[in-house]
């Protein structure tokens, strides 16, 4: 029978997370990636706090310091973090997929070196995937790793690399050979970002600082010990990595929080809104629920060990559109905000941030066109 009650454990976890956020994250916080270094420090200390309480890597297996949290507990964490402007900063990547990839493919030495710092909330990682000529077509990447004695020399360029200016490590894809198919001959390397052979150039953009960077690799020396998994077979690791991120960011959670916040932020001005705008607000609340339920559809399937790529794609299409459409409605609402008052000011800034960031929703982490291709494939194969 249908049951959308997530149970007392999830409710308690959610309450716990909200309490921690209220007590430790400033009310003005809009994410770690601002010009103000204090925001990054908020994220770093919040991660340490989560780690101390066993909440940072709770989805990890117990043998690696986690507690094997249920898919619904993991969902609650994703929702609460994103709704409150991701107070884990960039570390969600290490927790969500870099750590699990190292668990599955790493050597004992790699596990020992990399997993404890992630679990303690001490390290930021970036993802060296996209290149100027390899975006959606990632397997066309050209960054080359050339054999040199008992190691490799890597030369090439990555682009759109989030957090590269603050990361200590990069999960890097490079081409080690050329096979019949372009997916062959790709290898994953775990490389330290403080190597002088790596140069990071920030790309100024409307999303804000630190979001986008170019990374230049000029004869970067790495050894066999830096290879994750098998040489030339990194594509399967990538596929797995992307599978860990099947549900991805819980964008609907922030949308819902902002929409629900709007009447309080406007105060008496809410009653003066045009009926048409309030109608659009109600519609967006319905769409936010729809996206949340589509995410739950994916999580429920995942919980049974199955994968339905069409469901994932449908969710991603719905949620990224929701991000953008809600941003337009919320920006429209902010035009009616009172001039003064902390609540109105905070709401305006949060909505403005949401609007700027939403522009990337249908491009980042797999463009909406790729999701449509995947959904069409599933539909036509059915």
């Amino acid at each position: 029978m249908l049951d959308y009650d997530q149970g007392p454990e999830v409710a308690a976890l959610r309450a716990d997370l909200r309490r921690l956020i209220a007590d430790n994250v400033p009310r003005d916080y809009l994410g770690a990636f601002t010009e103000d270094p204090a925001d990054l420090e908020v994220a770093q200390s919040f991660c340490r706090l989560l780690a101390e309480r066993g909440l940072l890597c709770m989805a990890w297996p117990e043998e690696f310091g986690g507690r094997g949290a249920s898919p619904w507990e993991q969902t609650a964490v994703r929702e609460e973090m994103w709704a409150h402007h991701e107070p884990r900063g960039a570390q969600y990547m290490g927790v969500n997929w870099v750590g699990p990839a190292i668990m599955r493919h790493g050597t004992p030495e790699q596990r020992q070196a990399h997993l404890p710092p992630i679990a303690r909330g001490e390290v930021i990682r970036c993802q060296g995937f996209s290149e100027p000529d390899a975006g959606s077509d990632l397997a066309s990447l050209q960054t080359a790793a050339r054999r040199d004695g008992d190691g490799w020399r890597i030369t090439g360029q990555k682009i759109w690399t989030s957090y590269a200016t603050m990361a200590q490590w990069c999960f890097l894809l490079a081409r080690t050979s050329r096979g019949e198919k372009k997916q062959q001959g790709i290898t994953v390397f775990l490389v330290p970002m403080d190597d002088p052979a790596i140069e990071v150039r920030p790309i100024p953009c409307m999303l804000g600082p630190h979001h986008l960077n170019e990374v230049f690799l000029d004869d970067l020396w790495v050894t066999e010990a830096d290879v994750l998994g098998e040489v030339d077979r990194g594509w399967s690791v990538v596929q797995e990595v992307l599978a860990f991120e099947r549900v991805g960011i819980a964008r609907y959670a922030r949308v819902e929080r902002l929409l629900q916040w709007a009447p309080a932020a406007l105060g008496d001005a809410w009653d003066g809104l045009p009926d048409e705008l309030r109608g659009r607000w109600a519609r967006m609340l319905t769409h936010a629920r729809r996206a949340r339920l589509l995410a739950y559809r994916v999580v429920a399937t995942q919980a049974t060990g199955q994968v339905r790529p069409g469901d994932t794609a449908a969710y991603r299409i719905a949620v990224t559109r929701l991000d953008q459409e809600s941003a337009d409605v919320l920006m429209d609402i902010t035009a009616h905000l009172p001039d003064a008052g902390d609540e109105a000011r905070r709401f305006r800034k949060a909505v403005e941030d949401h609007h700027r960031y939403s522009v990337s929703a249908t491009v980042a982490s797999g463009s909406i066109e790729m999701q449509r291709i995947l959904l069409a494939r599933a539909l036509l194969a059915a």
Binding site: L2, G7, L285, R292
Partner: protein, 308 residues
């Protein structure tokens, strides 16, 4: 947490779909229009035990009722299945219809039933269909209603009366998508199937996102009823809003992808599309549903992660 109907309800829905097919399938809607009579296919519903279901009695039966409505929608079955399943148990009545201002009306023609109407404020009335002026082909069995007030105790009827027809509409969208997916793979132009064109694929995905989104909201609103949640009416209105939007998108796209054949009587899509109209515009069309939902939400918003 469980986002699926009970397996028994799912099985019942599949059984119903097969039984309706065996009883005539698509021919039933055509016969009803030809004969201005919605009783075609009555027997199959009796055989399925449809009227023994008590959707207000248990969650199991409510889910089975929803699955039956969806199966009826798949075939555009002319019989008012959802309306009969939603009939009030405390009044001597055969079927329930939700009505709204200005003129109460519903798809109540072509079948001789004792109707009870409930409005958005929970006011219940005896409802008597007026003779319809238009032929069934254009009226879709819609008729105006004469109303005789009974009581104000229909809040519980209202949510059920809104939710079950959305399951019927969902069944219609399931079918429209299935027909269209098959059609674009069969139909060749420029030497290749239509489905090989990305312009076609992307339209199909836009429609599918609407359909699966509606499916999830329909499940949620059903659970809201099952659980006796206080905001079941808001959940039902949110569902209805999404259902009308989804139907608009799905039928626009499925018609487009069928090309001219899609509006010919020889294709099922044409019948489905017309049969969906009363469900989409009554008791409230898109704008009026949105206005009703907005009014009910007030400043509280919709229940959820951050709602009331």
């Amino acid at each position: 947490m469980n986002t699926d109907l009970a397996p028994e309800a799912v099985e019942y829905g599949l059984t119903a779909r097969r039984a309706i097919e065996a009883a005539g399938g698509d021919e039933l809607a055509q016969a009803a229009e030809r004969e201005s009579d919605r009783r075609v296919g009555d027997k199959v519903l009796d055989d399925l035990g449809a009227w023994d279901l008590d959707p207000r009695g248990s969650a199991d039966e409510l889910e089975a009722a929803a699955a039956l409505c969806r199966a009826a929608g798949w075939w555009a079955l002319p019989h008012p299945v959802a309306e009969r399943l939603a009939r009030p148990r405390d009044l001597d009545a055969d079927a329930l219809v939700v009505v709204a201002a200005p003129g109460p009306a519903g798809a109540v023609d072509g079948v001789d039933l004792r109707w009870v109407a409930v409005d958005l404020d929970g006011r219940r009335s005896r409802a008597t269909p007026r003779p319809a002026d238009d032929p069934v082909r254009t009226s879709g069995f819609v008729a105006a209603l004469d109303i005789a007030p009974v009581d104000d105790a229909g809040a519980g009827d209202l949510a059920l009366g809104l939710v079950l027809p959305c399951w019927t509409l969902l069944g219609m969208l399931d079918r429209a998508m299935g027909l269209t997916s098959a059609y674009v793979q069969q139909r060749h132009q420029f030497g290749q199937p239509l489905s090989s064109f990305q312009g076609v694929q992307f339209q199909l995905t836009d429609a599918e996102v609407e359909r699966v989104g509606l499916e999830e909201l329909a499940r949620y609103a059903l659970w809201s009823l099952e659980a006796g949640r206080p905001d079941a009416i808001e959940d039902a209105l949110a569902l209805r809003l999404a259902a009308i939007e989804a139907a608009d998108v799905v039928f626009r796209i499925t018609h487009q992808l069928h090309g001219a054949i899609g509006f010919c009587d020889e294709t099922t899509l044409s019948w489905l599309s017309r049969a969906s109209q009363p469900l989409r515009r009554l008791p409230l069309g898109l704008s009026a549903t949105r206005a009703a939902l907005t009014a009910r939400l007030g400043r509280q918003g919709l229940a959820g992660l951050f709602g009331p």
